[in-house]
Symmetry: C2
Subunit: 400 residues, 2 copies
């Protein structure tokens, strides 16, 4: 193993330089403000958590957790999401706070690298958790707020795909009763959005023609309100029917939020099906192949922390939004540079203080050995700098 060179950093982590930080901060501020206006208060939890508590409860697979030992030999992890830590807080420090509890966060989370190169080991999520409300209204609120947050973040064109894990769970159990392994295989294909693989798996299972036809029919269950009606006719399974009925109700509430234009019902869309227990959703931005947000209902998680409660929420994939908006907008802000020599130092520093305090300007001062008068520096559109001669008279004029 070779020693890393001085400028190297671990695989999958990155530096954010000033222009990017300004854009990231803008997303963070606007989205958190939006969440706050919807009644969600920000919380901050530690980067380090115990493996046996938050680590195990998270939806991240074990091999993707960064692990380290504390002084007593207990295994810790770098948090891989914020949902499990917030469940811990709701069940402990906030255990006397009446439900529902609405919390928001903007946090960096960690995933040990996949074998594929280029995956981030540390990235940002901005999200909310609504704990203690099992209603379709709560699920609709999560979707409507996700839409408001994507807009606040500056994402222009996007669609939310809305699904429900109960529909597939129920339908597959009805069609392939007791055949867990086959069900799992089909669900994995849908999770991977591998529709070719899904069709092939159906053929390989050698099902009765009508069963195969129905299971193939799932792939067409994507659209508007009519999908709920179609899906309701596909099954007599109680779990599946309840899922469809719940989804219809969410859709109704979303109509009253006036955001249906952004939403598409997609019953082939299942989030992490070992984690979510009801409605799930994913947000897709135009011209981006992967989701910019995902969320759903997870009614079992809080039980693991000793305060059984229904819960729903979502997280924006903040880094992807940052990339999406990367080329948009102009974040070059003007900056005044005042150069001084020992003779006019007092005047220069006072002038800078006045420009910062009264005018909110960004002013850099610098001692200039050659005794040049004063110049001003502003970034060009391409991020480089050019020098412009500015006299004290100009600055005093600027100050009015």
């Amino acid at each position: 193993m070779t020693k890393p060179r001085g400028f190297e950093k671990p695989a999958g982590v990155k530096d954010y330089l000033p222009g990017t930080v300004a854009r990231l901060r803008k997303i963070e501020t606007n989205v958190l403000e939006c969440m706050n206006r919807w009644g969600y208060d920000e919380i901050i939890t530690p980067t380090l958590e115990y493996y046996d508590t938050v680590g195990v409860a998270s939806s991240t697979s074990d091999r993707k957790l960064f692990k380290l030992l504390d002084r007593n030999g207990t295994t810790m992890v770098l948090r891989s999401d914020m949902t499990a830590p917030i469940a811990r807080v709701v069940a402990s420090t906030l255990k006397s706070t009446p439900l529902p509890i609405r919390l928001a966060y903007h946090a960096n989370v960690f995933r040990a690298m996949d074998e594929e190169a280029g995956r981030d080991a540390e990235f940002y999520q901005t999200g909310v958790e609504l704990v203690g409300d099992a209603s379709a209204d709560a699920d609709a609120e999560a979707v409507a707020l996700a839409i408001a947050c994507l807009e606040a973040a500056g994402v222009r064109k996007f669609r939310i795909a809305l699904g429900h894990v109960g529909f597939l769970n129920g339908l597959l159990e009805e069609m392939l009763p007791g055949r867990q392994e086959d069900q799992q295989q089909l669900k994995q294909c849908l999770l991977d959005r591998d529709f070719v693989g899904y069709r092939k798996a159906l053929v390989d299972l050698r099902l009765e023609p009508n069963v195969q036809r129905e299971l193939e029919g799932i792939l067409r269950l994507r659209g508007g309100q009519e999908i709920c009606d179609q899906a309701g006719k596909l099954t007599r399974d109680r779990v599946a029917l309840e899922a469809v009925s719940h989804l219809c109700e969410v859709w109704e509430v979303l109509k009253e939020y006036g955001v249906n234009e952004h939403v598409l019902i997609d019953l082939t869309m299942i989030g992490d099906f070992s984690y979510y227990t009801g409605m799930t959703f994913e947000g897709y931005a135009e011209a981006l192949g992967f989701p910019v947000c995902n969320g759903g209902r997870y009614d079992n998680l809080l039980t693991q922390f000793g305060r059984p409660s229904p819960a729903t929420g979502f997280a924006l994939k903040t880094n992807r939004i940052l990339e999406l908006l990367g080329k948009e907008g102009n974040d070059a802000t003007g900056r005044v540079l005042i150069l001084y020599d020992a003779a006019n130092r007092g005047q220069a520093l006072q002038c800078a203080a006045e420009m910062r305090g009264k005018h909110g300007a960004a002013v850099e001062t610098r001692k200039w050995p050659e005794g040049k008068a004063t110049e001003s520096i502003r970034p060009n559109e391409d991020g480089t700098f050019t020098w412009q001669d500015v006299t004290y008279a100009d600055i005093l004029e600027f100050l009015g």
Copy 2:
């Protein structure tokens, strides 16, 4: 080793609940804005760094670094400060950017626990680095900006103690030539602010009476401009005299910044003397026994990353400021709660949207099975909540 219980978190880390987060965010925003007005742009670096690069270069002792292995068996650390990561960036990604470079940060940093209980393993620092300017003006700018930032953070009464590692290094080498171990012992006493131990060490060294007298005299070198004059007479050592002369110049510039009232020259004050190479300073708030900020000049660090450059900077100890201000201010913000049933849902959601959008109000909506009309909830001074009846008419009146 017992398994941690569900609600436990690792020693030394904490959850920040909404009221505290609001205060922390206020400090962060105000201080970063202040830094930005002085020409410092924010940068974000990864939580994970290589041990052999940033880990080794940091001023944190090895046993206080959190270490973990990447997939290739290379040792990584959780960053223990931001100065070494920023030096890495300045020497790599920004290697073509002309000096001086001004960068700011607000970041969580990590220290593996001391044996003593109660020390934070993860805490926040908000600071700047000014790379590429060796002048007294640059040092004075760091001190003056630290003062501006403490004020922006809301710290009311504070003093900056200003010192210089060169003075003690020179004087001790002059008085105890070649006696590195004895010099180290005396410096450690001063670093620990253990003046009784310092005097005892002097006695134990059995020095000549005039040497002992002079070294005892150091303890009185705390005050205003006159300290520079006194210190200059104590030594003929070149290093010590240059230090005094530099400090005098910093003092002169600080006078032109108009901030001397906050500054005290203290030649017994040495920061981490293996790290700092020139001026050092610490900020003390009234009624708090430990510094709220510290900084100084570190002209050797950048060399380790291959771009030798002088540098100066400081970090606010953000968590201590948070504690200091903990009882001040009232961050309870009003929040409207709109309860609805299925019949008036559309009207309720529209009303909430209008209040959020046009009036910037924080509005929580909730489906209320019993069909109660509308209520409003605002936090009391003690953080608890009481319910107040509010009608739709009230809200419409509020909306004007």
